[in-house]
């Protein structure tokens, strides 16, 4: 197989409700793919099926053998019933060296948090720690599920800048789900518009023009589109060259 993770005919039910229907998916090394879609469109379900947390009702998911993946789940909060320092958290489920710990914390912009309790962290600090943990085993692919939920605007912007910088340096693939369409689209090789099934997919500009996409995101698209176009050109000027052709 050529993709890091592939899915064929992926169908998933929660109870009787079909959340995903016949989804085909593949992500290539160093590719950046963004999944967009309205609430309840199965975005998180898709990601959780891809990492193996959910069993498909039909179809199959194939991960490259011994694939190193880093995952940042959506809206995880720890309630404090378990005492857990950031440093200890990074040592789950495999022990890692203290040097590796501080390295990934620095990379994620959480360098001074090692001794803090997880339950004492702010939303932004918590997301950075999750990102640090995802970076631990030098991942070939980062999977991020709405990683900036609960962050304010500057927090979101700086979190995405961090991710872009990391990807540029580590050359890993990135698969993320996001609501902040204009932000992530500018940095994506490919956008998948999901609503239970794949409505449309392709280069961000193509998707943004697609009728299916406009139908899903309604009139608000106009503003987002303008913003996206602006950011796209902006990003294009600095892009070091395409790492991957989404075809």
């Amino acid at each position: 197989m050529s993709g890091l993770i592939e899915a064929q005919g992926l169908t998933l039910r929660h109870g009787t409700r079909e959340v995903l229907r016949d989804v085909d998916f593949s992500i290539a090394p160093a590719e950046i793919v963004t999944v967009v879609g309205p609430n309840g469109s199965g975005k998180s379900t898709l990601l959780r099926a891809l990492i193996g947390a959910l069993k498909p009702s039909r179809g199959k998911v194939t991960r490259q053998p011994a694939l190193r993946l880093g995952y940042v789940p959506q809206g995880l909060r720890l309630d404090g019933s378990m005492p857990m320092t950031v440093a200890r958290f990074l040592n789950l489920p495999k022990r890692v060296s203290a040097a590796d710990c501080s390295k990934v914390l620095d990379e994620a912009g959480a360098g001074d948090l090692a001794d803090r309790q997880m339950s004492d962290l702010s939303g932004g600090q918590f997301q950075r720690v999750l990102l640090a943990r995802a970076l631990l085993n030098d991942p070939q692919i980062l999977i991020l599920d709405e990683p900036t939920t609960g962050l304010d605007q500057p927090g979101q912007a700086s979190f995405y800048r961090q991710i872009e910088a990391l990807r540029d340096r580590m050359g890993c693939a990135v698969l993320m789900v996001s609501h902040e369409l204009h932000v992530v689209m500018s940095a994506s090789d490919r956008v998948i518009c999901l609503n239970g099934h794949v409505c449309c997919e392709g280069h961000p500009e193509v998707v943004a023009q697609a009728e299916e996409y406009r139908a899903l995101f309604g009139t608000g698209t106009q503003g987002a589109l303008a913003l996206y176009r602006h950011e796209h050109t902006h990003r294009h000027d600095h892009a070091p060259g395409e790492t991957c052709d989404a075809g």
Binding site: A53, L78, G80, T85, L92
Partner: protein, 266 residues
């Protein structure tokens, strides 16, 4: 030395407290308090069945506790509200056990001993069961410790790291059934859950890591076991409830201390 009933009682109480600690922390972390209740109440039914079928009580309680644990897990996995299923299971198991034991012919079953424990009547065989079962629990949880911690924090993170959260849940249910069978003689079916929860809860405000909390829970458990036995001996009170009372007092002190120091739970 083991011929002295008091020595046997001390060893039994300490053994049960140590067996309960590694599971107790997970019961607190995963909010399984009611689950522990349902499973331990089922022990009475296990005792009745064991006596009816003339198999060892330990085996009877172990099997019935396992069946109830897996039955409840299966039902909640199918979308029934966990709180409701546990409410049904905890009381149904207890009631069924009481009815079944009344149907047993003859005066063979001293119900009170199994409801509240009968630590002063612990035999050498019971001691072997308690320490053997305790060692099995410690080995099981020690083996799966890292994976259990991660599955407890987030099943999705666990899955992404190649850990199977469902398998870790089975590990805990096995351990729970073992602890129920082990602690039955010491504190009785009604108070087993207390032996799980209270020492772990008392250790929480004083710990910074999961391992610290485990050590704290074990220490509080041993203190409660020794203090409770001493109280039972001095004031002629029932041993099992006395152990739980001492644990509860320790919890009060620790909660107060944690609050004064700065309240990590806030």
């Amino acid at each position: 030395m083991l011929d002295d009933f008091l020595v046997r009682a001390v060893l039994a109480a300490v053994g049960a407290a140590l067996a309960a600690a590694p599971l107790g922390v997970f019961v607190v972390w995963r909010r399984m308090a009611y689950f522990g209740d349902a499973t331990s109440h089922a022990a009475i039914l296990g005792v009745a069945l064991a006596l009816a079928l003339s198999v060892p009580v330990f085996a009877g309680t172990l099997v019935v506790a396992l069946l109830v644990a897996f039955g409840v897990a299966r039902l909640t996995g199918r979308g029934y509200a966990a709180d409701m299923v546990l409410g049904v299971a905890a009381h149904a198991a207890l009631a069924t056990g009481l009815v079944a034991s009344s149907l047993l012919s003859g005066p063979r079953l001293n119900l009170e001993a199994y409801l509240f424990g009968d630590i002063l009547a612990v035999s050498k065989m019971d001691l072997a069961v308690i320490w053997g079962g305790g060692a099995a629990v410690a080995a099981l949880i020690g083996w799966r410790w890292q994976a259990l911690l991660l599955s407890t924090l987030s099943p999705d993170l666990a899955a992404a790291s190649g850990v199977k959260p469902e398998r870790e849940r089975v590990t805990l249910m096995l351990a729970l059934a073992l602890v129920v069978a082990v602690a039955l003689k010491v504190v009785g079916a009604l108070l087993i859950a207390a032996l799980l929860i209270i020492p772990a809860a008392a250790a929480r405000p004083l710990s910074r890591t999961p391992e610290g909390m485990l050590a704290g829970a074990a220490s509080v458990g041993v203190i409660a076991a020794l203090g409770g036995l001493w109280a039972a001996w001095s004031f002629d009170t029932p041993a099992g409830p006395s152990i739980v009372c001492v644990a509860a007092v320790t919890f009060g002190i620790s909660a107060l201390g944690g609050h004064l120091v700065g309240g990590r739970n806030g």
